[in-house]
């Protein structure tokens, strides 16, 4: 049994990254993720790594682009408005097939919004974190332990597929403290990076990291090749958790902080005799579409709970394809759904179904 530590989510993001072989971090301060940078600034020099505070989020993500091009495991971290600033660089990174890990400890938006937790960047993370046709692999932890586990997965899969990974956390995940243990297993899955621009040493042809293709057919070919990789990811890397779904009439779908609140409600509702379960997507892209489709065979309806005005609910509806009704309950602006309000919504749905 590995050693347990009591740690803050943001610090676990940093420590887990280092234990996953990340040796470089570029960031810019923003609440509520600043502890990630603070931890990195202390720990990375101790292991001979590189911590650098950039002049902007824009520069930080481009430093990541440079370090990833050189073949290093590298990470950056920010919160919602800062992620918007990084989106230009993220599009270039995705288009250049560079592996890296990006952290978004979401706060409330739009605009400067607020500093309280939120899940309103789901669209941005899964549909459009920059211009052009591309995806990131998006992981949504719901506990401090899961942060530690998913950071390692995010690095390994990013290297494997040459697709950037995004950890979509929120202010609650970042700020809360829980016991955590770290994998003893070495992060060995670092494929040979023969494509890296690290100097050819007069021994090979120059390597080029590039996203410019002026011929439409050529550009289309690179995009299609990337989408073939996305298909493989969608086949093999979907992660989700099901809880009490087997006999459930109502399936709650929620991720991250809102899934924790929802899960606590499931038990209360069960005590009241309501057959309800929860499906918790752990990867938001690829989305557990098939798992939701399967549940349509047994469940009567779905309820999506989010800390937003309703974003993931669209993917749930796409998965359900009109076969079952899909309801939504959400709070936004930095508010979190209260258990009693979720319970009330479940009771309402249960009444309607009778």
């Amino acid at each position: 049994m590995s050693k347990k530590f009591l740690m803050k989510g943001n610090e676990v993001i940093a420590e887990a990254a280092i234990r996953s072989g990340c040796t470089m971090f570029f960031g810019y301060p923003i609440t509520p993720q600043t502890e990630v940078a603070a931890y990195m600034s202390k720990r990375l020099p101790e292991i001979g790594g590189v911590y650098l505070q950039a002049e902007s989020e824009v520069s930080a993500i481009n430093m990541v682009l440079g370090a990833a091009s050189a073949g290093r495991r590298v990470m950056t971290s920010s919160s919602s408005p800062g992620i918007s600033l990084k989106s230009e660089g993220i599009s270039y990174i995705a288009a250049s097939d560079l592996p890296c890990v990006i952290i978004n400890v979401q706060r409330a938006g739009p605009g400067l919004g607020g500093i309280q937790p939120s899940q309103a960047d789901y669209f941005q993370a899964t549909k459009g974190l920059g211009h052009g046709d591309f995806h990131l692999m998006v992981f949504a932890p719901s506990s401090v332990q899961e942060i530690a586990d998913l950071i390692k997965t995010a690095f390994d899969l990013s290297d494997k597929y040459r697709v950037p990974s995004l950890i979509l956390a929120d202010g609650i995940m970042g700020q809360m403290m829980e016991p955590v243990s770290f994998s003893e297993e070495e992060s060995t899955d670092q494929p040979d990076k023969g494509w890296a621009t690290s100097g050819h040493d007069n021994k090979r042809a120059p390597n080029i990291v590039n996203s410019l293709y002026l011929t439409p057919d050529e550009l289309e070919k690179t995009v299609i090749e990337r989408y073939q990789r996305y298909d493989v990811i969608a086949q093999n890397e979907v992660l989700f958790e099901k809880y009490l779904t087997e006999d459930a009439d109502i399936i709650v779908v929620a991720y991250g902080a809102s899934s924790r609140i929802s899960k606590s409600v499931i038990n209360t509702a069960r005590e009241k005799g309501i057959k309800v379960g929860i499906l918790r997507p752990i990867t938001l892209w690829p989305f557990p579409t098939q798992a939701i489709k399967e549940l349509c065979k047994t469940a009567k309806s779905f309820l999506c709970v989010e800390m937003s005005m309703g974003q993931m609910v669209e993917d749930v509806r796409l998965a359900v394809e009109g076969v079952r009704p899909v309801s939504f309950y959400g709070r936004t602006g930095g508010n979190t759904p209260r258990p009693e309000d979720i319970l009330h919504k479940i009771e309402q749905l249960n009444e309607e179904e009778k």
């Binding site: 824009v58 481009n62 430093m63 091009s69 050189a70 021994k203 120059p206 080029i208």
Partner: protein, 250 residues
């Protein structure tokens, strides 16, 4: 008699630059320098958005194509990722380095980042067809200053060397030109000095090179060279603005 040969620092790819444009000369100067200093195999070039966007096909070293203006940030990531013997340079135009990428340029210099910026100043946006650049001269006619740059409306040109030289992290800052063979030779020497500063880990270096754009200036190549002498050199004086190549910045 020394024989004039193609440098192995450049590939055989035919360049796309317009007739009379001095990009080709400057590419050659940079490539020759990397070869002569024995660092071509350790070099990583960061190319811009602008006319030189496809320079990754011309330099015979590893290259990265950076987002517009972000080359110094990308270079920072590369330099810090690799062993200190690596040689990292950016090749940027005036719009890239002095407008959209001003923050990246200033802060790379302020950090004393041990990289070399090759800055091509031709006082115009070339690739997009001749719009006003941050370095467009007062009263200069461009597509977006059809009556000439009115500084009371469009603001003043930026003298990057003078500005960057004020920063403590800047080790070697020089402005040169390419409008006569004599100036080309001086430009070569400046580029070599800058790379030596990087190799000896003395700090940030930038060489600003006055360059021509006959296509967008609407002139013959020969007239363009004269225009540099008559209009650009008086506004952008040539010379060394900072030299800490002996003591270094730290």
């Amino acid at each position: 008699m020394p024989e004039f040969k193609k440098t192995i620092g450049l590939t055989d790819a035919p360049m796309h630059y317009c007739p009379g444009c001095t990009h080709g000369i400057i590419h050659r100067l940079v490539a020759e320098t990397l070869v002569e200093l024995g660092v071509l195999g350790k070099a990583i070039g960061i190319v811009p958005v602008g006319c030189a966007v496809m320079a990754y096909d011309y330099f015979n070293c590893d290259c990265i194509q950076a987002p517009h203006g972000r080359a110094p940030a990308v270079a920072t990531g590369v330099k810090r990722a690799l062993p200190p013997e690596s040689v990292v340079f950016t090749y940027q135009g005036d719009g890239d380095l002095a407008a959209i990428g001003t923050a990246e340029t200033v802060h790379a210099a302020a950090r004393g980042e041990n990289i070399t910026l090759i800055f091509i100043n031709n006082a115009i946006y070339g690739m997009t067809g001749g719009q006003m650049a941050p370095t467009t001269l007062p009263n200069q006619i461009t597509q977006t200053t059809p009556k000439g740059r009115d500084v009371s409306q469009a603001g003043f040109p930026i003298k990057m060397c003078e500005m960057i030289a004020t920063l403590d992290g800047a080790a070697y800052i020089e402005r040169v030109s390419t409008h006569t063979p004599k100036h080309v030779m001086a430009a070569k020497k400046a580029i070599k000095n800058a790379f030596k500063v990087q190799i000896e880990k003395k700090g940030f270096s930038m060489i600003e090179i006055l360059s021509t754009c006959p296509t967008n200036w609407g002139m013959t190549p020969a007239d363009s060279l004269d225009w540099v002498e008559e209009n650009m050199v008086p506004f952008y004086p040539l010379g060394v603005f900072k030299d800490k190549s002996e003591e270094g910045v730290f």
